[in-house]
Amino acid sequence: MNNYENLNEIQLDALREIGNIGSGNAATALSVMLQEPIDIEVPVIRVLEYEQVIESLGGPEQLLVGLMLQLGGDVTGMMMFLLKQEFAHLVLQQLMGVDFPENGELDAMAGSAIQEVGNIMAGSFVNAIGDMTGLTIDISVPDLCVDMTGAILSAPAIYYANISDKIICIEDRIGNQNMKAGTHVLMIPEEDSLEKIMNSLGLV
């Protein structure tokens, strides 16, 4: 299995289930953190080319909040949370009572708040995978970048070019009763890690 394209339908279903449960967990964690009810729609999980991911987020120049986490333990690779401005705005409003700045220049406090949200959401996301598979997954402290979508995605596209020019993309819509905003979660397990996940689910 050297490419996400080679996943069969049953394996893709398993990934969908992982994305579903992971996103649900992440939303619950967010809800606790923000102390308000958070709704999440059933996510759409697809294996996409980077350029398709960029288009689905509003095009290459769209300003976006990117959080990158490196995975360690039984599963190595990378996970990215891509938050649209509206979502970042909701989080900052709720945690700090401030707006997401139009130019995307976050001060240190706002930056750490977003990082912490990423940390909590990613932690609960990978815990869900851990519970399903019995694998231990560690995550690094999230790395933050607010910039054009195309520029943010160049980092994983280049770093993992030897694995695949496609990516596992979990498209969530998440928010409170007043607004829902898109967030994308990208999963880039390294080759043997994806195999480990499938193995642990009995799907090889």
Partner: protein, 160 residues
């Protein structure tokens, strides 16, 4: 005037008053080549330094070591003279700090290095450069005057 978009791992050429554009370069590198006498412009958007570590038939426009030479050839067919070409390059940023993972932190820098080596091998001088740092760049390259214009989110616009 028309605008010709160059995607990721793509290249193209332009003449007259056409403008080549590539959006949101992060750690990728945009290479602008120009023959100022015949006013032939070329733009390549590479993603990776070297095709040799990839098996199979890698897409040549993706790599510094295979794309730039193809751009030169394409420009030659438009009337450019290879020994008259000059280069302007941009991109190769470090988008994430990636502490503790230097191979991830250095992807942009490695791309810039590979582009410079390839341009040196082809004896094409670099006359302007806006590389590195930690932000994305959109690049416009105009065939009429060979000006490279760089736009980023919060740093205004600069022409080279």
């Amino acid at each position: 005037m028309s605008t010709i978009t160059v995607g990721i791992s793509d290249l193209n050429v332009a003449k007259g008053d056409d403008v080549l554009v590539t959006y949101a370069l992060g750690s990728c590198v945009g290479i602008c080549l120009y023959d100022k006498v015949n006013k032939v412009a070329g733009l390549s958007h590479i993603m990776l330094p070297n095709s040799k570590s990839f098996s199979g038939a890698p897409q040549p426009y993706k790599f510094a070591d295979t794309a730039i030479i193809q751009l030169v050839q394409k420009m030659q067919r438009m009337g450019a003279l290879p020994n008259r070409l000059q280069a302007k390059i941009a991109g190769g940023a470090q988008m994430f700090a990636a502490k503790g993972n230097t191979s991830l932190a250095n992807i942009g820098e490695r791309n810039v290095q590979a582009v410079k080596e390839e341009l040196m091998r082809l004896r094409i001088p670099i006359i302007a450069e806006d590389t590195g740092k930690n932000y994305g760049r959109t690049l416009f390259f105009s065939a009429s005057d060979g000006i490279m214009r760089i736009k980023s989110v919060n740093r205004g616009e600069f022409s080279w």
